[in-house]
């Protein structure tokens, strides 16, 4: 027993030194107006060693998972689905120390289904979509930077960022979630650096159609016009002084 412990203690630093490091983990999720999502993920690894690397996915039921780019001999399977789906990468002997893995998958339902019980009042206007995403690093391999970019369906914009966790640390500049715009789409990016085992990050977004109600324009112009007519006396020459 003591010999086993001694061996473990001696082997642990070597194992840690050989442990694969995830430099960055980027997922780009392109949501369609129907609510389906096509994701492309890129893992940048260093210090790779033959064997298995387990990486949490952050999506519970991915479909059509495929490796699109990797060193020869790498294969991928989905791990057990106990709430958190994991990706199990198998690295062959002769795996290069630095590698980039690119894989894709589909998400059946990107947005949260809004189902109201009979008689329940809706708290969101018609056409709104809610996107929730939470990522927990369940594995001991630390992740340098985790980034999830959601490309909104065409014709949608972010109404508000309802949640962005954890709050930025003192040495971080800017928000946890950043909104941006590409050529055709608006996007929101959740970013968190230096995730150790147990660290988590999440965002909740409310999306709305880009089109503003024309009612604002009509009401505004009508009010402004009526005021200009009814309050002409404000600028009338020879207007009696107040109280006169």
């Amino acid at each position: 027993m003591n010999l086993m412990r001694m061996l473990l203690i001696l082997l642990l630093p070597a194992a840690l030194a050989a442990a694969t490091r995830i430099e960055s983990y980027t997922i780009q999720l392109h949501a369609s107006p129907e609510g389906r999502g096509q994701a492309t993920a890129i893992l940048s690894l260093s210090n790779c060693a033959p064997g298995m690397l387990v990486v949490p996915l952050g999506f519970s039921a991915p479909e059509d998972l495929k490796i699109e780019g990797s060193p020869t001999g790498v294969w991928l399977e989905l791990g057990p689905r106990n709430g958190m789906t994991s990706l199990h990468f198998h690295f062959p002997a002769g795996m290069p120390a630095n590698a980039t893995l690119r894989f894709t998958f589909e998400v059946k339902q990107v947005f949260q289904a809004l189902q109201l019980a009979p008689g329940e009042k809706s708290t969101l206007p018609k056409g709104s979509r809610i996107f929730r995403h939470a990522f927990v690093n369940t594995q001991e391999t630390p992740i340098g930077t985790y980034r999830l970019e959601l490309l909104f369906p065409e014709g949608f914009m972010a109404q508000a960022i309802r949640e962005q966790l954890p709050k930025p640390k003192k040495n971080e500049v800017g928000s946890r979630v950043l909104l941006s715009k590409t050529a055709d789409h608006q996007a929101a990016t959740l970013q968190f650096t230096d995730l150790h085992q147990g660290d988590d990050t999440s965002m909740i977004l409310e999306l709305v159609p880009t089109q503003r109600s024309i009612g604002w324009l009509l009401a505004g112009l009508l009010l402004g016009g009526v005021y200009l007519i009814k309050f002409r006396d404000l600028i009338a020459k020879g207007r009696p002084a107040p109280g006169a």
């Binding site: 206007p125 003192k170 500049v173 309050f231 404000l234």
Partner: protein, 502 residues
């Protein structure tokens, strides 16, 4: 002079320009609202941030042009924030329970006490007899008063509240009332407004936002800023600016007519002196008012010891609340509730203004605006002096985008530290001068708590405040730039203004 009523009536438009502004302000505000609301969604700006900016722009135009009383505009703003889904009902309604609203309410109870006991009148008469041979010296007396109070009482609203009755009575002596404000009243109120905020930047303990900035400079920039480090750069800039504003306010912005430069009471200064002498020795009620006010003042000044003494911190509104309880206490107190002169229209104005300001902060519109200001400039390879001027200017004027010093500090200082590092400058060289601008929240009546309180006196308009505030900030920037090139450089804080980072 015996009464301190703050009317809710809208000030009548005086000049043809003001009349036109009022006439066109209403549709102008609506047009600006629609323009911002219907702009194509911008990169990095959410729909709620865009609608928040639209609502705030509308309110700002209406507050400046005054087609309605300012508190009606605030009510409209609160409604718009809800229907555009910028803020939810709870967030909007909760504003009426904010610390600043409570402090306003309680401050006016204490002010009513000073007026009813005639203590405010006695102090004002003394001030005028002692310094008021000319209006300019009366104004200087207030500058000195605020300079003395600034290091003693960090809470700007508390400083404002304790000097407000004095300001109102002195303004009245010089013929400036809320119904007929004159140039002296504008100079007096706006000089105090600027002094209260700007002089907080003398010390790093002048406001909690200063301390946050010091923490950020230490954690992110790796430089520890000591009390004296701050003071030797902050004090000269703040004091020199306020002395210049004392002169420029009277000479350039609001020139006083000859009649306004002396006390406008029948009989002139002699009568003021006779009135002061006729008041006789301090009465019992006045002594009681001094004791109550002294207790509140003591609690305001000793807030850092409260935890040790009482096991709890009695914040500025709660110290005023204790004072109000004693003032309103049956038999032993000084006032009945009916005698307390509480300007509810001001509280509504403040609530709307803060709801709008908070919406800009919460939706990220303010942060977006600041990022756009910096993001649009390429400062790589330019001389340090130019970068310094840009940073200080953006920091100084950015107070117009947000009502919270803390939020502005938390957004701006980390960006400035990162910018300095990216450009190859010592973070302290940009972050410390920028931090000195944190307290200069003088541009609008909603920019700071003292501004809200002083605006309620009706002695100045939003555009008066804007003019005075912008001049104060511009002089501040000029002095900071001049100091950056000389004084700060000699102290080793800034490199040469012509230096270009490698």
């Amino acid at each position: 002079m015996e009464k301190m009523t703050l009317s809710s009536k809208t000030r009548e438009a005086q000049s043809p320009t003001e009349k036109w502004m009022r006439y066109l302000g209403f549709p102008g505000g609506i047009l600006l609202f629609l323009l911002i609301l219907f702009l194509p969604p911008g990169a990095g700006l959410s729909a709620s941030a865009q609608s928040g900016a639209a609502c705030f722009a509308l309110a700002l135009v209406w507050w400046v042009t005054e087609p309605f009383p300012t508190y009606v505009t605030s009510l409209v703003l609160m409604f718009l924030l809800l229907v555009t889904r910028t803020s939810n009902a709870k967030a909007i309604m909760d504003v009426l329970g904010m610390e600043v609203i409570w402090l306003n309410l309680l401050a006016f109870i204490l002010s009513s006490m000073l007026v009813k006991t005639r203590l405010a009148k006695r102090m004002a008469l003394w001030l005028v007899v002692r310094f008021g041979h000319k209006a300019t010296w009366a104004l200087l007396a207030f500058l000195v008063l605020q300079l003395v109070l600034a290091p003693l009482i960090p809470a700007t609203a508390a400083r404002c509240v304790m000097t407000l009755p004095l300001m109102i009575v002195v303004a009245t002596i010089y013929g400036s009332t809320e119904a007929t404000p004159n140039a002296f009243g504008k100079n007096l109120m706006l000089l105090n407004l600027a002094c209260i905020s700007v002089l907080s930047s003398i010390t790093m303990t002048g406001s909690s936002a200063n301390l946050i900035a010091v923490g950020l400079i230490q954690n992110m920039g790796g430089h520890r800023v000591y009390y004296m480090d701050w003071m030797r750069v902050g004090a000269p800039v703040a004091i020199l600016t306020m002395v210049l504003m004392w002169i420029l306010g009277q000479k350039l912005l609001f020139r006083m007519k000859p009649g306004e430069q002396v006390p406008q009471v029948e009989g002139g200064l002699d009568l003021v002196r006779r009135q002061y002498e006729a008041m006789g020795p301090l009465g019992f009620q006045e002594k009681k008012a001094i004791a109550i006010f002294g207790l509140v003042l003591f609690l305001w000044m000793t807030d850092i010891f409260h935890m040790r003494w009482f096991g709890v911190e009695i914040s500025a509104p709660f110290a005023a609340l204790l004072g109000a309880v004693i003032v309103l206490f049956p038999r032993w107190g000084i006032l009945s509730w009916a005698e307390a002169d509480i300007p509810w229209h001001l509280l509504i104005f403040s609530a709307g203004a803060y709801a709008g300001g908070l919406a800009l902060d919460d939706t990220g519109a303010a942060e977006w605006g600041v990022r756009m200001l910096f993001g649009g400039m390429n400062l790589k390879g330019v001389p340090f002096g130019l970068t310094y001027t840009v940073v200080v200017s953006v920091m100084m004027y950015s107070h117009l985008l947000t009502t919270s010093k803390t939020v502005r500090t938390l957004i701006m200082i980390p960006i400035i530290i990162s910018l300095a590092k990216a450009l190859g400058w010592n973070p302290l060289s940009l972050a410390l001068p920028a931090a000195l601008c944190i307290d200069w929240v003088v541009g609008l009546p909603i920019s700071g708590k003292p501004n809200v309180v002083l605006f309620s006196t009706n002695q100045f308009t939003v555009s008066d405040n804007f003019k005075y505030g912008m001049m104060t900030c511009t002089i501040g920037v000029l002095i900071l730039v001049l100091s950056g090139a000389t004084w700060f450089h000699w102290l080793g804080i800034t490199p040469s203004f012509w230096a270009v980072a490698p």
